[in-house]
């Protein structure tokens, strides 16, 4: 080992390099550098970049989703409020309509009852007139028959009979009015 100055049993100087080792160290490092640069560095950097992109993409997507969900929620709330408003409006309308219908029905019923009362009155009046007329005829006959029997005088003569009755009725009317 002549490179070590270790003649005569002295300790070798460890600071003096073994030249083949020095050369080999440089070569090994150079090769490792080339291999790392070619095979390791691009892979790791690509992985890091992909991961960063994936995380950022995920965050962006989540933000978009959140915004969409917020918009959807606002829209639904708006729809719900509209629906409530609509329902309230319809209820109010129905109440108004109901009130109108009730009022109309009451009016109709009143008119009907008035009409019925009116008709009844008219009928009663007509029947009364009829009764008066028929009574007038019958009263005459009865009275003359009765009177004939009482006075014993025949009143069968049409003309006379009629005259007597008329006179009698006129007396009645002038005495106390009809009815």
């Amino acid at each position: 080992m002549n490179y070590l100055l270790a003649a005569e049993g002295e300790e070798p100087n460890p600071l003096i390099p073994h030249i083949p080792e020095l050369v080999l160290g440089v070569v090994v490092f150079a090769l490792l550098y080339v291999l790392v640069k070619k095979f390791v560095y691009p892979n790791f950097e690509a992985t890091f970049a992909e991961r960063t992109a994936a995380i950022e993409g995920g965050l962006a997507a989540a933000e978009t989703k959140q915004a969409e969900a917020d918009a959807k929620l606002a829209e639904l709330e708006q729809q719900l409020a509209d629906a409530r408003h609509e329902a309230a409006r319809i209820r109010e309308e129905a109440r108004e309509q109901g009130a109108t219908i009730v009022a109309e029905m009451r009016e109709q019923a009143q008119a009907e009852s008035a009409r019925i009362v009116e008709a009844g009155k008219a009928q009663i009046e007509a029947e009364r007139q009829q009764a008066v007329t028929s009574l007038r005829a019958e009263v005459g006959t009865l009275a003359t028959g009765l009177a004939g029997r009482i006075v014993g005088e025949s009143l069968e003569d049409e003309a006379r009979q009629s005259r007597v009755v008329e006179r009698f009725l006129a007396d009645l009317e002038s005495a106390g009015g009809v009815n």
Partner: protein, 263 residues
């Protein structure tokens, strides 16, 4: 043990620089030594680790990819991006990653049974890496500022004028251009060398005290030596990692300094 106590005492093994002077594996006259085999083997392992960890490119990493990304990301971000700056660091990432993992795997070789030898306790291998570092940071600076601009950047602190420059310029030149590769190399080499020496001392010393000293009273001391050996072994694991880190960190700082616009 009683046999040993009765046996004639032997001289203890004294570890020294010769402990690191491993003979060529294939006999006298050939050049391949154990450190040379180790640096090639652990460079291959470092590359295999990085390659297989990076190959899948899964967005949700498996175990190997996770460990690989953690290591690669550590060098890339804390040594590359944070020191060199996000504008320029990308093109130095392969360099820093190669440097860190070559050093880390070879330093930890000292902890692996059968190898148990820190590759960079051999000065020649360390000088190689220091030489590369020197060429890289100076080359990068000269490429960016031109030779004159770069020397001015490294040797003339801004704001210093007048006769004091006569003192400052040689000092800065010496410190930034000449001394840096030397300290870089010696720091790594000495840490690996001394750490390994310490481990040999405690291991062989304990062995001698227990089995070879012939003195029964030394046996507990030998056991204590082995306990300390174990503790130092773990300390060395930390140091081996730290030296890989520091070497790469200083590389990044030198590159950052060479790229800087203001000194």
């Amino acid at each position: 043990m009683s046999v040993n106590v009765l046996a004639a005492t032997e001289d203890p093994y004294i570890p020294g620089p010769s402990s690191f002077d491993l003979p060529p594996i294939f006999g006298e006259g050939t050049i391949v030594t154990k450190p040379m085999v180790q640096i090639v083997l652990f460079a291959v392992l470092a590359f295999a680790f990085l390659y297989f960890a990076s190959r899948k490119r899964a967005l949700v990493p498996g175990k190997l990819q996770y460990v690989g990304e953690a290591g690669y990301g550590f060098v890339r971000n804390s040594l590359g991006r944070d020191i060199i700056g996000s504008h320029d660091f990308q093109k130095f990432v392969p360099y820093l990653v190669s440097m860190f993992f070559l050093l880390l795997f070879n330093n930890w070789a000292a902890a692996i049974p059968f190898f148990q030898f820190p590759t960079f306790s051999r000065a020649g291998l360390v000088y190689g890496l220091a030489l590369i570092s020197w060429l890289v940071y100076n080359g990068v600076g000269i490429k960016k500022h031109g030779l004159g601009g770069y020397l001015k950047l490294q040797c003339m602190p801004s704001g210093v004028t007048g006769p004091i420059l006569l003192l400052i310029v040689p000092l800065e030149f010496f410190s930034n251009i000449v001394v840096r590769p030397v300290t870089l190399a010696l720091r790594l080499f000495c840490n690996m060398f001394a750490g390994h020496l310490l481990l040999i001392l405690f291991a062989m010393g304990g062995y001698w005290l227990i089995f070879q000293s012939g003195v029964l009273g030394y046996v507990p001391v030998g056991i204590l030596a082995w306990v300390l050996f174990t503790a130092i072994f773990f300390l060395e694991l930390l140091i081996q990692f730290l030296q890989a880190y520091v070497f790469t960190l200083l590389n990044a700082m030198y590159i950052a300094g060479a790229l800087a616009d203001e000194h």
